[in-house]
């Protein structure tokens, strides 16, 4: 018997799409800041200035969005909970992760059926949220240098001293590319599971509903 389940609550969907937009905008503006591929014609232009303004504005938006999602890890429903990040702690989770890995590598044919994120995806998201934090910390630490003694410098300045200014910049660049790789993987996997699971994975991130057959669980 197939039931329609409300899986992704509004904050989950909202932060998902804000994050998605932010990752795209921050990546494009970030690439320009790192390597200004368009040159301005006149000194009166403000190309880099506006690009940096957009980058920092979306950085704040992204930070608040990630923070909101982190709060929802605690107060959200069971599929939004932080508990999903540790599937390897339960026997079922370990089995599901292995089955999924085997499905992806063409060594097994069974897709473990789950309502929320599958075990392998959950682990990937744990890594992605770690990378989000790395980007936020490294980004605001670098940003804070414009005002020594200011808010960001006071709380994140020691990170620059500890890691090193240039290493921090390199990290900020490399993590951006890792996130770009993730976005490709994420869209592909969503499409694949939409096709193979046939439970409305793709539309669920817009509306929040999935078609779940309880007997399959």
């Amino acid at each position: 018997m197939i039931r329609i389940l409300y899986v992704w609550q509004l904050p989950v969907r909202l932060t998902h799409w804000i994050n998605a937009i932010c990752v795209v905008v921050l990546s494009v503006t970030g690439i320009y800041i790192g390597h200004p591929f368009i040159s301005a014609g006149a000194t009166a232009d403000f190309l880099m200035g506006w690009t940096r303004f957009i980058h920092y504005s979306f950085a704040y938006l992204f930070t608040f969005s990630v923070l909101a999602r982190v709060i929802w890890f605690v107060i959200g429903n069971e599929w939004a909970s932080w508990r999903m990040f540790f599937p390897w702690k339960s026997r079922k989770g370990r089995k599901n992760a292995l089955d999924f890995f085997r499905y992806y590598t063409f060594t097994g044919s069974r897709i473990p059926y789950e309502v929320g994120h599958n075990a392998l995806a959950s682990m990937a998201y744990a890594a992605i949220f770690t990378l989000f934090i790395v980007q936020i910390v490294s980004g605001f630490a670098l940003y804070g240098q414009y005002a020594p003694g200011g808010f960001w410098d006071s709380i994140l300045g020691p990170v620059v001293t500890l890691v090193g200014n240039q290493t921090l910049r390199l990290t900020h660049h490399l993590v951006m590319w890792l996130l770009a790789g993730f976005v490709i993987n994420h869209i592909y996997s969503a499409w694949l599971m939409d096709m193979k699971e046939m439970n409305g994975t793709m539309s669920s991130i817009f509306g929040g509903y999935k078609y779940i057959d309880q007997e399959e669980l």
């Binding site: 200035g49 003694g149 200014n165």
Partner: protein, 375 residues
């Protein structure tokens, strides 16, 4: 001298001005010096008479030591071609011991150092130029049979304060760059208990040293510092944020190569690897060699010489980012990133093609769908 000091009327004592004239420094030069140093220290101009009095009445003995360095900081100190106030203060009035410029040599030189240490115990300022090799018991640099490590511990340990000048003394500099064969360390690491003020730069800017000593004379203490022990008056702002080419950066106008049109027009040197956005120093405001010029003004990007480990961390000097560890010199982070993104897309694309033709579902619901299709 007038008691009230408003921002309009700052009066220097006639006696002081006449005494400096007797030393061969014109009143104009002296007033310029006092004003300049007060501005460098970011003090209000009402402090100008206090500065003038402080450098008149007080005299701080200085012991200048050099270890693993190129004497570039001493050269910076001696760069003036005519006696200026700064030179008189630093060189003729206070410096008790300085191997490069002192007349004495050998035992006599050693004698004068020991004498200064004894006479001014706990009162003198130790200035250190060059890094201290700590490897193999400090055998790589010895003066008069004693290792640099022992000397620096002894001299800095008995000083009122220590000023480390140049990147070598402050952060290890070029001698400490990988693979650091002599185990070179900074003064702060060599003498952990001492009060050390760091004045990095390659070389340091003598104006900052003069200002530091004037601060010490005026207030009896070293100026406030940042996280790395550098005085805030000189290292409190990024080069990038005070740069004369900053408007070109914000506009989006960059020199793409040395000698190209943008470079000739004075555009921003960001794409030529300028490390101004990574470096804290007051170069754009005080410049070098009596305010003549500084690297970015001369058309070369900053190499970050006031930052820790600049030889390793700021290189390649003509690129924005360091190379990715484990990859060749020619591979940049962004080339690697594009490769990663394209590789991911190709891999998942291929996976998708295979998956599209794949059979073997285990769900009951799938079978229902199959049934529907058949019907």
């Amino acid at each position: 001298m007038k008691e009230e000091q408003s921002s309009e009327t700052v009066v220097l004592s006639e006696d002081i001005l006449q005494r400096w004239e007797a030393r061969g420094v014109s009143r104009r030069d002296f007033i310029k010096f006092c004003t300049g140093v007060t501005a460098t220290l970011a003090l209000p101009i009402s402090f100008i008479p206090k500065v003038a009095e402080a450098i008149e009445d007080n005299r701080v003995p200085v012991i200048w030591m050099e270890f693993q360095g190129c004497t570039g900081d001493s050269e910076a100190l001696l760069r003036a071609n005519q006696p200026t106030v700064a030179e008189i203060i630093l060189d003729r009035l206070s410096i008790e011991y300085h191997e490069t410029i002192m007349a004495a040599a050998g035992h006599l030189a050693e004698e004068s150092k020991h004498q200064a240490m004894e006479t001014y115990r706990g009162k003198y300022i130790a200035v250190v130029e060059g890094s201290i090799p700590a490897g193999d018991g400090g055998v790589y640099c010895t003066v008069a049979g004693e290792s640099a490590l022992n000397i620096v511990r002894k001299v800095c340990g008995n000083a009122a304060a220590t000023i480390a000048v140049g990147n070598c003394a402050t952060f290890g500099g070029i001698p400490a760059a990988a693979p650091n064969p002599t185990g070179a360390i900074s003064v702060q690491k060599a003498v952990p208990g001492a009060t050390v003020l760091n004045l990095p730069g390659c070389p340091l800017n003598t104006d900052n040293l003069t200002a530091t000593i004037v601060h010490f004379l005026t207030f009896g203490k070293l100026p406030a510092t940042d996280r790395l022990g550098r005085p805030l008056f000189a290292y409190g702002k990024r080069i990038h944020d005070n740069c004369e080419r900053r408007s070109h950066f914000d506009a989006g106008q960059y020199a793409e190569a040395f000698g190209d049109e943008g470079h000739r027009k004075g555009f921003c040197l960001y794409k030529l690897g300028c490390k101004g956005p990574e470096t804290f120093h007051n170069c754009p405001t005080i410049r070098y060699n009596e305010g003549t010029s500084w690297p970015v003004m001369a058309g070369h990007g900053c190499i970050g010489c006031a930052e820790p480990g600049f030889w390793d961390t700021m290189s390649p000097f003509y690129r924005r980012l360091p190379q990715v560890p484990g990859f060749g010199v020619e591979v940049t982070a962004d080339q690697l990133g594009v490769g990663l993104a394209v590789g991911t897309a190709v891999a998942f694309g291929a996976h998708g093609v295979v998956s599209a033709f794949r059979k073997g579902h285990a769900f009951k619901s799938d079978k229902l769908v199959q049934k529907d299709k058949e019907e």
